[in-house]
Symmetry: D2
Subunit: 370 residues, 4 copies
């Protein structure tokens, strides 16, 4: 779908000396002629600078491990290998306005507490001893668990394992916050929080989902989920249950959104997260939508076709889909499930009424591969 700009309704001014003089004069007053940039800044459809990228865990893991020796946790703030899109390094974005990275915590390590306007989420990749304290609540998380650190919530992390490091994937909306000139940051005045005595108390209080606590716990008015950690087992079970009652989505298999149990909304106002199940042999059809997505392969192996390029993935791999790029997924196994964790900026798209979605109708819903 290449649309020509040489039509009535688009800017088609031919340059000449007089205009060039005029443009110079405008520039002297911090001004310019709209028609010189109109077609570029009002494109027919989104023109993201971001491209699809797949980061192999097999490549990254040794590098991440190496950082344990290279820098002290306290010097680094957090020991993180960030993943950046080739044309988005200046804003530290993995895709669109989303940041991601792999964070490692050595055995017995813990880090100081801070808070920032940017919202954060974690998806645990390996290791058994990871914990985080979010606004005074201590959470313990293991592989494939999902946790949130909402904006401006105090948080600090650590690893209580005696011998193995923990690695999780961080997702943040830092580039979004900066694009909107809204970033704030504070170091905790005591450097460390005093956690409450009950571990995973939000899970005990809100984990049942359809049972709402009465009283102060039910009167939660913050703009993010009161449930801070979503363990893997009930998540996976929810997908298996849903698969019994529905065929799922033609584009995503059986897919569910991590929700705020008190509102049904997304876990945070700027980012949402999904877990999806590709059944043995399942290959979905292509669709595209506004909004950027970063995936982590939680289980199994397969491939995705994104903007006409094929990316083969297996457990721990990370890949991204830029806004408005066609994408489809396939499970490589005829006998095993594959599961993709992902997070995105859809809540922003929806709040600002920028959400659009389109299904591919060509070629049985599949893209030609370049």
């Amino acid at each position: 779908m290449t649309l020509s700009d040489d039509v009535l309704g688009r800017a088609r001014v031919t340059d000449n000396d007089e205009l060039r003089d005029y443009y110079e004069e405008l520039a002297a007053y911090e001004a310019g002629a709209l028609w010189t940039v109109a077609n570029k800044i009002e494109p027919w459809f989104p023109q993201p600078a971001s491209v699809p990228v797949l980061w192999r865990y097999a490549d990254l893991r040794p590098l991440v491990m190496r950082s344990l020796d290279l820098v002290k946790a306290d010097d680094a703030g957090r020991r993180v290998v960030m993943l950046t899109n080739p044309e988005r390094r200046d804003v530290a974005a993995a895709v669109g306005l989303l940041y991601t990275g792999l964070q490692i915590m050595g055995p017995g390590e813990s880090m100081t507490a801070h808070r920032h306007q940017a919202a954060a989420l974690r998806f645990v990749v390996e290791g058994e001893g990871a914990w985080t304290i979010v606004d005074g609540q201590k959470l313990k998380v293991g592989p494939r668990d999902f946790a949130i650190t909402p904006n401006w919530a105090w948080h600090e992390h650590g690893n209580e394992s005696a011998d193995t490091p923990c690695i999780w994937q961080d997702g943040l909306d830092i580039p979004l916050v900066n694009a909107l000139d809204a970033g704030f940051y504070e170091v905790h005045p005591d450097l460390y929080q005093e956690p409450g005595k009950v571990i995973n108390s939000s899970l005990l209080t809100y984990g049942a989902g359809s049972m709402r606590p009465v009283g102060p716990a039910g009167a939660w008015s913050k703009p993010y989920s009161p449930l801070f950690a979503y363990p893997w087992e009930p998540t996976y079970e929810a997908l298996l249950d849903a698969a019994k009652a529905s065929d799922g989505s033609p584009y995503d298999g059986v897919i569910m959104e991590y929700g705020n149990p008190l509102t049904g909304g997304s876990v945070m106002p700027t980012m949402s997260a999904h877990m999806q199940l590709l059944r043995p042999g399942e290959a979905t059809q292509a669709h595209r939508h506004t909004g950027s997505v970063i995936y982590n392969v939680a289980k199994g192996s397969g491939h995705s076709v994104i903007a006409g390029r094929r990316f083969d993935w297996s457990e721990g791999d990370i890949f991204c889909v830029p806004s408005w790029a066609w994408h489809e997924h396939a499970n490589a196994s005829a006998s095993e499930d594959a599961c993709l964790f992902s997070f995105n900026d859809f809540p922003v798209m929806r709040s600002l009424t920028f959400w659009r979605e389109e299904a591919s109708t060509d070629d049985g819903g599949h893209q030609p591969i370049a």
Copy 2:
């Protein structure tokens, strides 16, 4: 707290012959003098006609069972012993504007489908074979399970057991619907619905609570919960979990509201339901609030003090608390939990901004017993 009406600011007109003539003249025009009724219709605080009542399951069960022989299900429409408050028989209310009754279905029986503006809910008391089809979705429910039949949803019931009857408690807002002149009723054109193939599909789809389905199932826009049945086991487990993270309410022990997993709101726009846990030996303090409540003793035994009267209860008993009546609950056992199921009209109180709540501060929060 007895407040006198003989004060400035209340109606204090002394009757006389001239006024009596005047009132007669007004009556001829379908009119009257406000001051003759002002103090009555604008009381200092609520003056419900309803009184606290306890209905013993031991008394009612034989009567309910007898109805199996006395009337055919198809003739009765539904075979139900309704429970009525002494001063509210004219509107078939158990308390305030809430209706309740015990419905029995004989082995192998099934009943025709209808729908009505009134919303209905069920709490299963005994029997293993009960089912209901709600808007084409077949639900199977057992003891202590909770299910809803939202307003204007087609529904029909039955009992697939070969040998034992099933009894559940019905709760409806029929008196409310009638007070607002809003009642509609339809018999299903085919007399019976064609249910979908998956049993309890809403539980498979929405039961995880904090995982929201993506796509049509997540885009549910009806004003009631998409989850139609709430089984006992996870409900009880949720209470036990919550008790680990919180001391609960001083008035209600550990109490949770059955919620709409997509909105966190009440299960239906006119009625909500709770399950509460009184820990061994627990005796709560008194509070009062607007809104009427009907309880069913789900587990254990104990007593409640309501408006200064003590009511002892055990499993299967039903009792009610009128609006603005003080009430407190106590578990009789030092070693076993007690659980109270209840439903109420709080969503109405909240929608109309009529909700008020007050804690007792006298005598350690306990009422003197009359």
Copy 3:
């Protein structure tokens, strides 16, 4: 549309001695058999006790005036002739769960302040000096002005005219509040409020409607309109303007709802109000809906057909339309506008999801007149 109850799906139990014994036994336990009342309490469609009534101002005015001499304002609390529906006198309702009356204040008179859970509204019929102080804000209102006294807002009234009385129509939801056992009442501790210096400040602050104040005035969080008085002139002008851009409603002519300028919602959570314009010669078609309505003829003369009965009206007359009654309106003049003020309980119908509406398709949309 008469629907028979002698069909499968309705209660059709034939009485006999055994059943009569059974019913007696049930009654001893505050219980009954649902099938004896099922068809009555679950009607095919609403069966209001209220009937259409028209109260002529010419009849009522002399009686209202007479109350000035018969009772002192302070003894009466408020000097009001209330209007009651023949079958709803027990709850002081004019129709459904709505109360109305004509209140008179003598020259120079003022009354003490109180507040109550019931919400109140006023529509001024005659007199130039009326004022009311609502939560400390003094309002002056004249003929055809509309004002609100939201629930639990302190209010007191008076008439600053030296020689003429003022009469306004009161509308309250007292019967609704009582039906829900939610009534509270307080006399102002100082008997009178200390009003702010600016008269009609809410009109100055919020009257522009589409311009929202920034800061505390814009952060209003109460569940009712911050605009307490709606003068006649801009209301009428709004109708004339709307008539230029639209043909209006086939059932109501050009009709607009008095709105909360900060939310667009109804002025109060339990009652809403409309002003409608019947253009010269206009006769609308019949429709019906749930919810009760009380009208005041603000301007002109004409007639309404309600549930098949014709009611002729002229300025100052009051009439009511019960829930689900067909109704249509006609302006008697070929050259002059007619305007109907009305208030209703539609917000209740909508909050509780009881709202239904139906257009007449018979006979060109007109009812046969009995």
Copy 4:
């Protein structure tokens, strides 16, 4: 308030050869070390690239006029001199993610219709014949009138004056839309819309603000205001009225937000607009907040101090305030009002929970001027 990064809780890794090698290796995998950029991308407080700028209408007007001869309207698409912040030329932003420009239409001219995801607003600076057709509705606008062209609404403009050009200021969220990779654009299939017969119909229908149309017009469900044009006269009158009832804001004088009359929300989901009145001699105190603002001097003259720099302004001048910059305003006249129109991205800040605000407490609320 300069905060040091040389503290525990910030990244403080010292560079060395080993690390440099490591960084190179990471780069090969589209990765990097977070600690090398952490302090920059998570600043203590917002660090906008935008600076305060004032564009004098006296400077710009001749240049804008000249474009009439330099380019044909149809070739330019729109004949607009855009205003760009020195460090934001790459994204065509005047400040933050907001675009603005001065558009000129020659006598008798009209332009083709298009629509785009970006939302647009207009504030008329001079000329009497300007019109715009928005989604089929023709609006006529004159000096100081405000109009909106919501996202994805068809729109086309023209000038029906026989002899004078019209100039208005455009405001768009183009940079925001592009930052989120969400831009779409379409030329109208017929090149021109067929407007409805009634001019300014939204003003006739919704202009009363506090009177809400009943029926389809009241059931508007689009995410922007149904009122498309806000004339100057009632806007100014609303400010004068509000000034009688309130002292206004210490930071902004008497300020009101152009509102969606059906919801009370902002006119569009991504941009809001205000008109504010600085009374004769009024000088406000400084405050700062997240979100960017672009002002147009609607009336009078004065100055603003922004981030410590003084900018003197008179009618027609445009200036901007970047996110988190201190700012205060002063009316230069002791006898005349000054009015500032402004638009902003506050709805984005609020939707994404990025809104913060702070009052200056130093020096009587005034900034030292650099």
